[in-house]
Amino acid sequence: MVKINFKSDSPVTFASEAEDVKQIEEEFTKKEKSSQIDNNIDLSFESTESFFPRADVEREPETKTELPEFEEAPRARTEERPVDRSITPNKDFYPGPVSSQKRIYIIFGAAAAILLVIIFFIFQFMKSGAEKPAVPGTESETSTSQSPAISQGIMPVYQTNVASNNFLDTQLQDFFVKKPASADYSLIVMTPTEINLTVLGDSRDQIAQFTVDLKKAFPALAFHVVSVQNKYEDGNQLIYADLSTPISSGQIASPVSKISVDIQPKDIKKELTGLAQKNQVKLPYFKQGKIIDHNGYRETLYYVNLNGQKGNIMKFISGIISAYPMIRINKLSIFPYNLQTISGKNLSTRLSLSYYNSI
């Protein structure tokens, strides 16, 4: 029985969520303002120190060689700002011809620097050789103060996370690149076991054509139509269709054999807020869910909403995948922010994440 009385029943309220959202938005606005200042500095492109937001620059020495996120960032920025060949090269990056005297100085300087580096490595090698038996595997602990010890037992989980996340990321990018022209996506929902697409077309024939084209574009995925609904707008009939395909474990690549994990962030909210800020994505909602204790490690669920341009959202998702192997994307939903289809630039995304840490 469905009992509903609009006269006396209380509508569903989301007071706590609204407060959370407000708080996060306020935090985001503050950070956005500070990042705008950084961005102003960035515009010169004359200094690599001002290339990143200050928070990232401060963290950089801790993770410079281990985490790929800072290797990815300059590439991302370059994509946003294509190289203009007509601009005169900056002399800091493109020095002009030098004299022969200067060349000699440079050669001597370089030789001295190489010598110093070799001496430094020999010294380090001797030192670590002496300490090795007493403190095994402490490189990650000394590299950052915020990282608790990571047990080797959790590594297979991280490897599986990376494989699963990579699969979702690749599929998502393919859905945009290989989308058949006969209809547009209205909603994309992806999980490691299932992919659901809601598409909007003008007629049933269009939907049928889209289904055929989609099967051709993704022969490994067994898409089938699970529901079709009419929608009337301004007297025009539109058709919404839901397509679904299961994902077998065999379709996801084997767990990545080797990954580098040195930090285990204590505050995942702060990490993702920083990542969102870096990629110019708004993160208006962040909520922690259930905590599940497994044998030797803990899983914490998080629910995250994002708003932003398609390219930036994709970068954010790729950023999670490359920088945080301790996170698994359980569910990823992408839908247009204020339009019917994902053809527009502004998208909303909802992520359901699991964060794994050693206990």
């Binding site: 029985m1 469905v2 009992k3 509903i4 009385n5 609009f6 006269k7 006396s8 029943d9 509508p11 569903v12 989301f14 969520e17 209205s186 909603l187 809601t198 049933r204 939907i207 049928a208 289904t211 089938h224 139509v225 699970v226 529901s227 079709v228 609904q229 009419n230 009337y232 707008e233 007297g235 009939q237 269709a241 909520k287 869910g289 259930k290 629910y303 939903s333 839908f335 909802r350």
Partner: protein
């Protein structure tokens, strides 16, 4: 113990008023009146301040002419004035996250910002081994205000306002207790069908389907066109053109609604290979609907089903 109430049922351009009394297992229709509204309730009209007043004045006129009482009133609205969505949640998702997930799923079905709607999650649980179904119902705040304004202007003491798809679903289950499988309960309205799908345990779905793509009213269509549109609807439900398997397994059909004509029943029975009945409750095994009103004949009870349904 008997319950006496007035029940007003609105359609887009039609209103039905019944005075009802329930004694034990018998629903008595004491009075039944139906009239076209002076102005259609649609997106343009309900935003005009005069529309609610015009409709309230009509109700005042009905009360005076037929000696109807405004004392205790229940009201139904067409299901299509609301957004009804089923949301599937994984069994592993904690209950405290249901609301936000439901709202998120609903957001995609709304054509306006969510803050323009009241959202309800009535008690509804359809469990499967892998997932649970939640029911989310949204109504535009302005639509609810519109009907509240009608009530206030006509000085009606309204206690319940409910979508008719749910009240009819409940009445069906009270009356037709012995029905097996899924039943298609079809309301013949002026511009299309109210399609309710129920079974003996639960509400399954609701949708509105126009008679044709031009939204022609039932008066503009001849008998052949109407029967053909019913065939198309049934075929679409039983053998959806794009789907690989149908969503429903309909075993029987019930008709109600002011615009249905008795003579169509035999024609439809002849071409539909499943039990087809009129929602007159003549086969009810639990509750009975008895007509004590002189305004309608016994075989016209199906025309009043929407307003009768809001008795429980």
């Amino acid at each position: 113990m008997s319950l006496e109430t007035s029940s007003i049922s609105f359609q887009e351009d039609f209103v039905t008023w019944t005075d009802l009394a329930v004694e034990e297992q018998v629903i008595n229709i004491q009075r039944a009146v139906s009239e076209s509204l002076p102005v259609s309730i649609n997106y343009q009209n309900f935003q005009q301040s005069t529309t609610a007043k015009q409709i309230a004045n009509q109700l005042i006129g009905l009360m005076q002419r037929y000696e109807l009482s405004p004392g205790t009133v229940r009201m139904t609205l067409p299901g299509r004035f609301t957004v009804i969505k089923k949301v599937m949640v994984d069994q592993s998702i904690p209950k405290e996250n249901y609301k936000e997930l439901a709202l998120f799923e609903l957001e995609n079905s709304l054509e306006e910002p969510q803050e323009n709607f009241h959202v309800y999650m009535p008690e509804f649980a359809s469990d499967n081994a892998d997932y649970r179904e939640l029911l989310v119902v949204a109504i535009r705040k302005s639509v609810l205000e519109f009907f509240n304004e009608i009530s206030e202007t006509a000085k009606l003491n309204v206690q319940i306002i409910a979508p008719s798809c749910f009240t009819i679903d409940e009445l069906y289950r009270k009356i037709y207790t012995g029905m097996e499988g899924q039943t298609l309960i079809l309301g013949w309205q002026r511009r299309g069908y109210d399609v309710i799908i129920s079974d003996k345990n639960n509400f399954i779905n609701y949708m509105f389907r126009p008679y044709n793509t031009n939204f022609d009213s039932i008066e503009q269509l001849d008998e052949g066109e109407l029967l053909s549109s019913f065939d198309v609807l049934l075929e679409e439900l039983k053998h959806p053109p794009v789907l690989q398997k149908p969503l429903y397994d309909i075993q029987s059909v019930l008709f109600y609604g002011f615009h249905f004509k008795n003579q169509w029943l035999d024609l439809i029975k002849a071409q539909v290979p499943m039990p087809v009945r009129i929602f007159n409750a003549e086969n009810g095994s639990n509750y009975q609907i008895v007509n004590r009103s002189q305004d309608i004949s016994d075989d016209q009870i199906f025309q009043m089903i929407e307003s009768v349904s809001n008795i429980f």
